[in-house]
Every structure is written in C-alpha cells, then in structure tokens.
C-alpha cells in the first residue's frame, strides 16, 4: 500500500524547510516571523531569552522565569536550571531538538548570542476546545465525553478510565512538515506484540509531508487502500476506545484530531454501537439485528426494485401489481434511470446538508426531501413506491453507529444497481459474491477483516450479530490474539446457588 508514498523517497528534500546549519541560522529564519521574540537581558543575569510569543504562556514567563533571572545573578545555564521552578528543563546543544522544542512552545535561554548550548523551558500554551458531548456517535445513555483536538487531553480521558500501570503510550512523530505527534496506546500484557509491532512499523514507514487528521492514517496504513471498507475503526468516544483496549486492541490517537483509530477491527464491529453494552443483552441483540437488517435493506432494496421491475415481473404478487404498475404508469424513465436520479438526489441532499451550517442544513434536509420528492412524484418523474423505498434506504444507512461505514454503504449500492439492471437477481448475487470475496480477502493490520464469519470463530460470534450476556463472555475476542485472553474466571461466576440459599 505504501508503494506510492515510497516513491517520494527519491525526491530531493527542499533545503529551505529542512535543517538549519546552526542555531544562528535557525534564529535568522525565525526572526522573519513577527511573533518571534529574542530579548537580551542585561539585568543581574546576562542572557538571551528567545521564544515564539504566540505559543507560550506569557503569564508563566513573567511569573516564573523572569523574576528568577532578574532577582539574582546566574552565571551559566546549569545555575538557571537549578533556580527556575519548573521541571522538564533541558540543556542541550542538539540543534534538531532545539528546533522542535522551540516550535512546540519552549522558551530558549542562552548565555551568549554565539552559544550553541541552550536551556529549554517548556511553556507551551495550546488553544483547545473543551471536552464536549459526542456529536457523531451520540448515545442516549452512557458517558457523554468525546475526544478533542489535543492529544494530551485525549490521553487524559483514557487514563482516567484505565488506571493501570500497564496502559502504555508510545509516541511517534509523523509528517515531514507537520511533525504530528501520534500516540499508539495499548495495554501491555493483553495486547498482542505482533499487532503492536505491525502498527509501529506501518506508522514509521509513512512518508508524507502532513498529517492533519487521523483519517490520513486510516488511508495510509490500511492493508488494502483501494477498498471502500475502512480497515480501522474510527471513534470519538473515549469509552469505546477503553473497551477495545481492554479487549486487547490497539488505539492510535493523532494530535489535532478528535478521532481515535482502533485496530485490528472487523466488519461486525462497525455495526455495534456503544449503546449495545449499556442495554440488557436481549434488547441489545434485537437492536443489533435490526441495524443489520437496515444495512442489508439499504444496500439491496433499490437494486431489488430494479431487478424485479425490469426482469422478473412474475415475482410481483397480484395484489401489489396494481399499486406498482399504476405508480409507474406514465414515468418516462426505465426503473434504473428512475432509481439513479432519485438516489443521486438524496446523495445531493446529504452532501448539501453536511456542508451547510447546522441550522440551515437541517432545514435543507427536511424541506428538500419533502418538496423535491413530492414534486418529482407529482410531475410524474418518479413513482411514489420508489420514493418510499429510496427514502427508507437512505434512512436505514444512517443506523450504522460508525459514520465511516455509512459512506461505504452509500457507495456500494451503485454497483449493485448496475448489476441488477444487467442480470436481475442473478446479477445482484454475482455482485454480492464479489463483495463477499473482497471482504474475505481484506485484512486489518494483518488480521482477517471478515472475522468472526470467516475464519469462523464461534467465540467471537457471541458478540457479533447478537450480544450475549457479559457472564458468557469470559474470553477476549480471538481476533485480537490477546496475550492474556481470559477476562474472568467463568466458574466462579456460574456457581449456582440452590433455592433459598
């Protein structure tokens, strides 16, 4: 998958954005920006304080650093380091480190303009959003915190849920220009080492100039990047991430992105909502099945309509014949055109709704749907039967708890439609077989994506299409190949008490 990125390796690096030869030239580069400040203090301590003022906390500079420097005479960097009441201070002459830390919001102190050694004091201030309620994966019951754009806050959200020393966070920097911090989170002793290595290896292999969001990684790291199916689960709920970490999966959080990626994932995971675990198991199972049915309906309903109306008229029962035929009586298009027009209209509304500001978007969605739909039926461009089917199919595609898979469902309808037009039900079957084959072939970080269906894993089926009670799920899913696969000792739980004990 990385072939394309790897090709870029050969391209010579742009020297201007890369290394500066010395501290001096670094400062020269920085001085071009208005917000870079370099003050020569001549008070008791004679030193140069340089920082980017838009990214440091000025209060901190004024209250913790300047008073120290101005109240007494400090001769060298070591002495300053001892006196400034902050930890994580570092003295270094490593240019690369200086550059990175300055850019991240450290204050640099040097004794002389020509010095190569510098003292770095972290004083970063980053503007972030407050932790708010999840908007994409909303749930009625359960925790209502969602990730934000700050990596540290996100890790904080996880740490407070998993107070385990084994919760390990590895950090990688990716992106030639953006130098984005990417955290790989796993629970040592549960997560499979091989999985972890695959993830780290793939992260390190990424060569690109910018990583703006976690979805960049989804595409760059996936096993088959031509597949319409996402091979990493993308979530904004810290509780969901906690759940999968405990199962032995690995989470990837990108600084600047409010979404965590989890892997290895399977197709069924995309249809399970966090609500499923908050409800009693039978209710949860029923809702899951409804969701699954909705997805199948969404993918197949319109293509079945095309297949039956164009090729298999005999299948329509006598009682429905009148309804269907009279609704199609004066429509100039063949069913396939009718469906395509209507599907595209709905996609249009959906796209428009997503791009417009929230308030306007809602109005467009509802008004557009009703007005355009009714008008099309009145004008005799589409049949009302189809309008119902398409609207239901669109509605059904929103029942997926994970947003990404909804996009996939939107897209894969079209090949089904085409094949229905060509060979009716047989065509649909062939198209379905193709997708089954594709799903069997897919892998998520080297683990089968279509599990627990293929390879068939009965243990994992307990939490796939239905969710059995917690007491029956004594093992972690096989998919993760967890190092420690036992959740609890089932014998202790299932000890039966006699009547009236």
């Amino acid at each position: 998958m990385l072939k394309w990125w790897k090709n870029k390796k050969g391209v010579p690096k742009d020297p201007r954005v890369q290394q500066n030869a010395s501290i001096h030239s670094l400062i020269e580069t920085l001085k071009q920006s208005k917000d870079f400040t370099s003050d020569h203090l001549t008070g008791p301590t004679d030193c140069i304080v340089s920082y980017i003022k838009t990214i440091i906390e000025p209060k901190f500079l004024h209250k913790s650093i300047l008073p120290v420097l101005k109240s007494q005479q400090l001769k060298d960097l070591e002495e300053i380091k001892d006196h400034v009441p902050v930890n994580n201070i570092k003295i270094t002459d490593d240019l690369e480190e200086i550059r990175i830390r300055i850019m991240q919001g450290d204050i640099m102190i040097r004794m002389k303009e020509t010095d190569d050694r510098a003292l770095l004091i972290p004083a970063t201030t980053v503007e972030t959003r407050k932790v708010s309620i999840p908007e994409v994966e909303f749930s009625v019951v359960g925790p209502k915190e969602a990730f934000v754009e700050s990596l540290d806050t996100n890790i904080n959200l996880l740490r407070k849920r998993l107070t385990l020393p084994q919760l390990t966070i590895r950090e990688v920097m990716i992106g030639k220009l953006t130098k984005t911090r990417v955290a790989v989170i796993s629970i040592e002793g549960i997560a499979n080492k091989e999985n972890l290595n695959t993830v780290l290896q793939r992260l390190n292999a990424i060569e690109y100039d910018q990583i703006i969001d976690s979805s960049f990684l989804t595409q760059m790291m996936s096993d088959n990047s031509n597949s319409p199916f996402p091979q990493f689960l993308d979530t904004e709920r810290p509780d969901r991430v906690t759940e999968v970490l405990v199962e032995g999966k690995i989470a990837i959080i990108v600084d600047g992105s409010p979404h965590a990626l989890t892997c290895p994932t399977t197709i069924v995971e995309f249809f399970s909502a966090s609500d499923d675990y908050f409800l009693p198991w039978h209710l949860a199972s029923a809702f899951r099945l409804i969701r699954l049915f909705a997805v199948i309906f969404s993918v197949l309903s319109t293509s079945l309509y095309v297949a039956v109306l164009t090729h298999h008229q005999e299948m329509i029962p006598e009682d429905m014949m009148a309804t269907i035929v009279s609704s199609r009586a004066d429509i100039p298009f063949p069913p396939i055109m009718e469906v395509l027009v209507l599907e595209l209209t709905i996609e249009l509304l959906r796209e428009a709704g997503a791009r417009l500001p929230t308030k306007v978007g809602q109005t467009i969605g509802i008004v557009g749907g009703i007005v355009i739909g009714t008008a099309a039926v009145e004008a005799g461009l589409t049949s009302n039967v189809l309008l119902i089917i398409t609207a239901l199919a669109a509605l059904a595609s929103f029942t997926t708890p994970v947003y990404q898979i909804g996009n996939t469902i939107r897209l894969i309808r079209f090949p089904f439609l085409l094949s229905a037009q060509f060979w009716g039900l047989v065509g649909i079957s062939m198209c379905m077989s193709f997708f089954i084959g594709h799903l069997i072939r897919l892998q998520s970080i080297g683990r089968p994506f279509f599990a627990p269906l293929y390879p068939l894993r009965f243990r994992d089926l307990k939490d796939a299409f239905i969710r059995l009670p917690f007491s029956l799920q004594s093992k972690r899913p096989m998919q993760t190949r967890a190092d420690d696969s036992t959740r609890f000792n089932p014998n202790r739980v299932q000890e039966k008490r006699d009547i009236d004990d």
Binding site: P317, G424, L425, S429, M432, F434, I436, P455, L456
Partner: protein, 370 residues
C-alpha cells in the same frame, strides 16, 4: 526404503492453511452444485421411486471413499501429485496428475455451462452467453487467484447462504402424495444399483480432497469433519429426492428437466411470488465454490508437477474455459457434456480404490525389501 517426500505438509506456510472444521464446508459445498437441481429425474429413470435407496447407498460409498482418500494421503503425507510420483515415478505419475488437472477443468466447465443454461432457460432466454460467462469466470478467477483460504471462505458462505433455500422444501410438502413412496423397494437390486451409479455423479467433489489435503491444519482431526460433510450432503440429497418424489407423479417427474427449480414455483410470500427466480439467483452462491475450488485445484496440479506459476496456469485455464463454454451451444451438447463428465467422474471415483490398493501393496513390498 521410503523415498524422501516430494512436498510434504511442511512445504505450505501456516498462514494459507485452513482449520480442520472448514473441511466440512469444503467437502459439502463441492458436492452440492448444479446436479442437485435435476438429479431426481435421472435416478427415477433407473429405479423409479425406490431411487432414494440408491441415494443412501451412494452416500455410504462416499464415506468409504473418503476413508480411503485419507488413508492414501496420510501414508504419503502430501497430495495427489506426491502420491503419484511416489507410486509411478516422476514421468508416469506426472501424467496421471495432469489427467486429474484436466478432469477438474472439465468439472468446472460442466458446472459453469450448466448453470448458464439454467439461467438461459429460466430467466433470460436472450442472455449473451459470452459476456455472462466471462464475468462469471472473472468472479471465479478473483476467488481462485486469492488462494486456497479465499476459496474456502467462499465454500463456507455458500453453505450458509444456501441453507435458507432448504427451508423452501416445506412448501411442496403441502402437496405431498406420500403414497408415491410405497411400496418400498419394488425394484430389483440391479435397477437400484444402476441408479446408484447415476447418483454418484451428483456426489462428485470429494476427489478434490486429494489436492487440498496439505492445506489443512492438523489433517488427522479433519477426518471427522469430512465425514460429517458427506453425511450432510447425503441427507440433503435424500430430502431433496423424497420431496420431489412426493410432489411429482412418477411419470410426471421424468418430463421435468429441473424438478427442484420447478418446485420453487409454488413458494409464495405476501410480498413475493414465484421463488424460482430467487432460488436461481441464490444458486450463484452454491455453484461458485464448485467452480472456484475446481479451478484452483486444476491450476494447482501443473504448478506441483512442472513448477509453473499458478497464476499463469489459471489464466490459461480461464481462457480455455471461456472459449469452451461459449462454443457449447444447445441443450443437447450440454446434456452430452454432463453425461461425459459423469462417466469420467465415475472412473475417477473408481480410480481411488485402485490407488488405495496399489499404495498398500507397494508399502508392503517395500517393507519386505527393507
């Protein structure tokens, strides 16, 4: 002395192997294919409505053959090619193996062409055979090129997706004429055995085990599953035959080319009638593993014998299949093709006990020499 193994189980990397449970699906899905749609008619010609006994006998024979195949393979710890090389030497053994490759190819051709005929007769009389077979073969190629794991996956899904069709058998039972089955065994043993011969053709498919055996993890524990698979197939054929027998009259069934598809005609739901269209569409899943597995096995043999690249063999076979299935035009030719495949398949099945005996004899002889 026993010769060094040509290519034992060790030669195949662990991540392309499948678990022994899946042998159930491999065996079953390969056996059930296009034959089940119309085998009733042929066996009735031989043994009337006592032919269900033949179905049972056929099932028992398959169990014995499976047992033999496992013996043959366990002794050599390889596949058919290594068995052949072991017994007949490189040249003759290779020739025999290549014959098997062509047999598998013929199997593929029969299945695909017969299915296309069903589609032509039942749904699209004006179907463009060239385009349709091309796409169908492309689909099969996609699976076969994915390797054995993918093909096995399709077998699994084929069985799962085919199961609901079984439930449709309840509809014809409403029209049952149970008296058709009586008196039990009113035919001579010869007639019943000749129907058994006919029915074995529908049971073809276990001989692929000879090729994919090394791809099974812990092959010994898969034995049980293989027998379960055969048993399930026998059961399925028995139910199919019995349901058709009580639905059609004995003279009537001989005039129906595809009794099982005709049975689906009476299935009715409030929202959909005439289930044969759905049935035939679902049959795509049932026959796809037939084609994929046979195609995979056919292309695997030359790789083992000549060390060709399997992908190129696959493409070559793809072209052969495509042209051959396009050239087969009418019902008569397809019937002849089925007939021939049946005959050859019968001899292939007959070859298994022979191979079994030769191998046992050789083993004994070698032991004595050693």
């Amino acid at each position: 002395m026993i010769k060094p193994k040509q290519s034992g189980t060790q030669a195949i990397s662990e991540n392309v192997k499948v678990s022994p449970t899946l042998v159930f699906f491999l065996i079953h899905s390969m056996q059930v294919g296009i034959g089940i749609l119309g085998f009733e008619r042929y066996i009735v010609k031989d043994a009337g409505y006592d032919a269900w006994v033949s179905v049972l006998i056929g099932g028992v024979i398959m169990h014995i053959l499976i047992w033999m195949i496992y013996h043959i393979l366990e002794d050599s710890d390889g596949d058919l090619v290594s068995v052949h090389n072991d017994l007949f030497g490189k040249f003759l053994g290779g020739l025999f193996s290549i014959i098997f490759s062509f047999y598998y190819l013929l199997l593929t051709l029969t299945v695909i062409r017969t299915f296309v005929e069903v589609v032509q007769v039942w749904i699209f009389p004006r179907l463009n055979v060239w385009v349709f077979t091309f796409l169908f073969l492309l689909l099969a190629y996609y699976f076969a090129a994915g390797g054995f794991r993918i093909v096995t996956g399709m077998c699994l899904f084929s069985v799962i997706l085919g199961l609901p069709i079984l439930a449709l058998k309840f509809y014809p039972i409403q029209y049952a004429h149970l008296e058709n089955l009586f008196p039990v065994i009113d035919h001579t043993l010869i007639e019943i055995l000749s129907a058994t011969k006919t029915v074995t053709l529908s049971y073809l498919g276990i001989e692929l085990l000879l090729i994919y055996y090394p791809f099974i993890k812990k092959p010994v524990s898969s034995k049980k599953w293989a027998h379960h698979g055969v048993f399930f197939t026998t059961l399925l054929y028995l139910v199919t035959a019995l349901v058709s027998f009580i639905y059609y009259s004995e003279k009537g069934i001989q005039g129906v080319i595809w009794p099982t598809i005709s049975l689906w005609k009476i299935v009715e739901f409030p929202f959909v009638e005439r289930f044969e269209y759905v049935g035939i569409a679902l049959w795509v899943y049932v026959i796809l593993p037939n084609i994929c597995l046979a195609l995979w096995a056919a292309s695997r043999v030359p790789r083992r014998v000549f060390h060709f690249r399997q992908r190129w063999v696959l493409i070559l076979y793809f072209i052969i299949l495509y042209i051959a299935s396009g050239l087969l035009k009418d019902r008569e030719m397809i019937d002849t093709l089925n007939d021939w495949t049946g005959k050859i398949g019968f001899y292939v099945l007959l070859y298994i006990p022979i191979l079994f005996i030769i191998q046992k004899a050789m083993k004994k002889a070698r032991k004595r020499h050693a």
